[in-house]
């Protein structure tokens, strides 16, 4: 029973990592850049939803939609202003710019919304289901369900739709994609929009499950999700999903069965071992270099 309840909380945490990791992985797949500002877009989304619900008393659904809209626009603006001019620059330059954007968002939030922690209201109440000795809260169920839905929709989107195919084409070979008449810039912008929209949803779920909101809320989950994305094989959508879930479960089990003090060391050691066995992550493709 103990095991099961830890498994469930691990899956719930992992689902949130997975949704954030999906955003990371999509952007990485197409723009080949690590968008370190992703975690902070999550934070912005949470704040938008918080203010919509608490200050303007809007229903949760409206709050979530507003957060998604704002984050989508924010993602596109960031891409246009800070990343697009660097399309030809080395990827490290873009990485540093992303870090700059991350600092900017964090400190902007600090000035706008102050440093006092906000307690995020639950979007679906504090209900829970009792299965024998096992207690599962509604938020946990919602988180896992949303994660599954997002995963399914994204798989369908990238596999079946025209836009999704264009994305995959761009991530394989931008030059060739352009020659085939694909609007590469538009596609990249679209990817950022989707990734940031997902970030808003992740933010709302993160703060519903762990309801404290401060300007640095997004940074640690951001790093963890980045780890999860690499763990699963960066650029791979099922990989990000699997990586996120596993990371959440391993983290919870490490705390429960090894030591709460050393859980971080355990998680990252497992990561290193996995990468030694599978150098491209769990589901990543090992691409052999051509001579």
């Amino acid at each position: 029973m103990r095991f099961l309840s830890f498994l469930i909380s691990g899956l719930s945490l992992g689902s949130i990592y997975a949704i954030i990791a999906l955003g990371y992985t999509m952007v990485y797949g197409i723009a080949k850049m690590l968008n370190f500002a992703h975690g902070d877009v999550i934070m912005v989304g949470s704040y938008i939803c918080f203010f919509a619900m608490m200050r303007y008393n809007l229903p949760p659904v409206v709050g979530v939609i507003l957060a998604v809209i704002v984050c989508t626009i924010l993602g596109m603006v960031i891409e246009r202003a800070a990343y697009k001019p660097l399309r030809q620059a080395p990827s490290l330059a873009v990485l540093i710019t992303a870090i700059g954007v991350s600092y900017f968002l964090q400190n902007g939030a600090l000035l706008l919304w102050t440093s006092s922690p906000k307690v995020f209201p639950s979007i679906i109440g504090n209900g829970k289901i009792q299965l024998g000795e096992l207690t599962i809260s509604h938020v946990t169920l919602l988180t896992v369900a949303v994660c599954l839905v997002i995963m399914a929709v994204l798989t369908w989107f990238t596999g079946r739709t025209k836009m999704g195919k264009a994305m995959r084409a761009c991530s394989e070979d931008k030059g060739a994609a352009q020659l085939m008449g694909i609007d590469v810039n538009g596609t990249i912008s679209m990817t950022f929009a989707i990734g940031s929209g997902l970030a808003a949803i992740a933010g709302v779920l993160l703060c519903s499950a762990y309801p404290t909101l401060v300007p640095t809320t997004g940074s640690m989950p951001g790093i963890k999700a980045f780890t999860a994305a690499v763990f699963g094989g960066i650029g791979s959508i099922p990989g990000a999903f699997l990586g996120g879930l596993l990371l959440g479960v391993i983290e919870t089990f490490a705390k429960a069965y090894i030591s709460t003090q050393l859980s971080d060391a355990v998680v990252f050691s497992v990561l290193i071992i996995v990468l030694l066995v599978r150098p491209a992550g769990l589901l990543g493709k090992v691409i052999n270099e051509k001579v």
Partner: protein
Amino acid sequence: MKRKNTNKYVSFALVIAAYAIMMILTASGKITRSMQGMLVPICAYIVMAISLNLTVGILGELSLGHAGFMSMGAFTGTCAALMMTESVPDEGLRLGISMVIGAIFGGIAGFLIGIPVLRLKGDYLAIVTLAFGEIIKSIFNNLYVGFDKYGLNFQLLSEKGIKLEEGGRMLIQGAMGISKIKKISTFTAGFILIILTLFIVYHLVESRYGRAIMAIRDNRIAAESVGVDVTKYKMTAFVISAALAGAAGTLFAMNYSTITANKFDFNTSILILVLVVLGGLGNITGSIISATLLTILPEALRGFATYRMLVYAIVLIVVMLFTNASGTKMLISNIKAKLGGNKEEEEQ
């Protein structure tokens, strides 16, 4: 080749000139407290940036855990210095020995992490170094070390098992880190460390090793096919980089009365990476300048009060856009062409 040489002399000249100016200013009392207080950390960050540049710029592998080596050096070096308080009364000598010990432990950590690193590429390598930095942080946060006349006492998770004889003291106290450090780092020591670092790195780059390392960076398969032992050269560069970071860590730690593991977290690793990228990959002089600039910048911006870090972020973005965007690059080269600027200034 010629350009490399000029760059080398520029680096040395720059460091020596800066040192001389600062010493004169200090002697004549014309320097502010604020500037004076930043001299040692600037030296430490310069060494960190140069050493990371060896990994990222010259070896061509992204590392996100460089602060882990700094942490290793900071803790081992400081422990060594505290243990030698009585046996080595001369502070300069004690600092020197401590830095060597910090460098050795940094190098060992570099070797250990080098084993998985050599199997991986690109972002996977980056994440392993990130993971390593987090592991080091987590371990030092839970490590307790005591010292008495019988030697060292180690304990993980709790200090309960440590029984010290009379006259012994706790060195590392888990999350509380090391307290009551005698501050023995000096600007001169930092200067010497930078000069040594420059010697080592330039010597490496210009030697057979350096050519092999850059060949690996530019085309690993081609290098391998002409018989370059990729593993050996990569490992050499990585260990040297880690050892230098260890020495810098000791220098940094001994400049404060207290040090904690959380100081050397992911954000510090990222900060050092920013220094390297801003200064230019593979450009040692650039690393020196950007390390100095970026350490001073947040202090110089104190006038902005609450907007300080926001302005810092904007400056960072604008500088990256300005120096890397294709549009501005064209603009700069156009201006240069008009002014008849010499091509030597341009980076490769």
